[in-house]
Amino acid sequence: MTTSEKYVTAAYLVLLGALLAYLLIIALKVGRLEQELADLARAAREKRGG
């Protein structure tokens, strides 16, 4: 690979990396939200007198 090609590839990999990183962050966030929702559902049940 020539130097030019290496840098071009690097730039495109940066974009790909950013997208995948974003995906990871969203996945973690969804996990956290799921957990919180479960906690809140439990708290609501308890409050109901469960």
Partner: protein, 240 residues
């Protein structure tokens, strides 16, 4: 239902929203893959810069998309100030969030392009990059503003005004960096605008459309996440 997740008709987000997001994602994939295919298989190699010019097909669309995000953020901010409808706060925030991400990508891809074109990772002569640095610093402070102000109408309004300042800063900084070139740093002429062959123009345009659609998809995902977060917080307070 919380104020943040009601859409225009007062109904909470439903399956309709999901299919819009899906459509956007499909469109983004198609346009980006298509655009990049055009860029690599159809558009000719640049006479002066050679193969390294191919970075241009993501760098410029990313930069333009960042601008678009900031403009959308300012528009939502204006709507917040005008209508006092609080859902616009999260929308403005999300748009600017996307803008900062794309702005950072602009700086990184631009830096790589600078390195391969002129041998340096950073050059003050590259006006587009300098402008983005200023804007990146400005919009990063937006996050500082949000994090250090307690949630409420005050924070929403301050953020909105700041977002408006940002969008005014874009042309002002552009002008400033341009005149700065005459005394501070020699401006390097880039090949971006000058006499692009039609094939390159079409490829870039398709990539740009793809990048915009990508940003729109990510925007919806991010906004949904923020809204759920806010709703859960509200629920938590109600149940506590």
């Amino acid at each position: 239902m919380s104020t943040w997740s009601r859409n225009r008709n007062g109904r909470a987000g439903k399956a309709g929203d999901a299919s819009v997001a899906a459509a956007l994602a499909v469109a983004a994939t198609g346009l980006l893959v298509g655009g990049l295919a055009l860029a690599f298989f159809w558009a000719p190699e640049d006479a002066d810069q050679g193969f390294s010019q191919k970075i241009f097909y993501i760098h410029v669309p990313i930069a333009l998309t960042a601008y678009a995000c900031f403009i959308v953020g300012a528009w939502k901010a204006l709507r917040l100030l005008g209508t006092r409808d609080r859902r616009y706060d999260l929308e403005s925030y999300t748009a600017i969030h996307m803008g900062v991400i794309f702005g950072l990508l602009t700086l990184v891809t631009g830096s790589i392009w600078a390195k391969v074109s002129w041998g340096q990772w950073w050059t003050w002569g590259e006006r587009q990059l300098v402008l983005f640095l200023i804007l990146f610093l400005f919009y990063s402070s937006y996050f500082m503003l949000r994090y250090s102000t307690d949630p409420g109408p005050r924070r929403e309004r301050n953020s909105a005004v700041y977002a408006l300042f940002g969008v005014v800063l874009i042309p002002v900084s552009f002008l400033a960096v341009r005149i700065a070139g005459t005394i501070l740093h020699p401006t390097i002429f880039t090949h971006k605008g000058a006499n692009l062959p039609g094939t390159m123009l079409v490829s870039v345009a398709v990539c740009f459309a793809g990048m915009l659609t990508l940003a729109a998809t990510l925007y919806r995902v991010e906004l949904a996440g923020k809204r759920i977060d806010a709703s859960l917080r509200e629920l938590r307070e109600l149940l506590a």
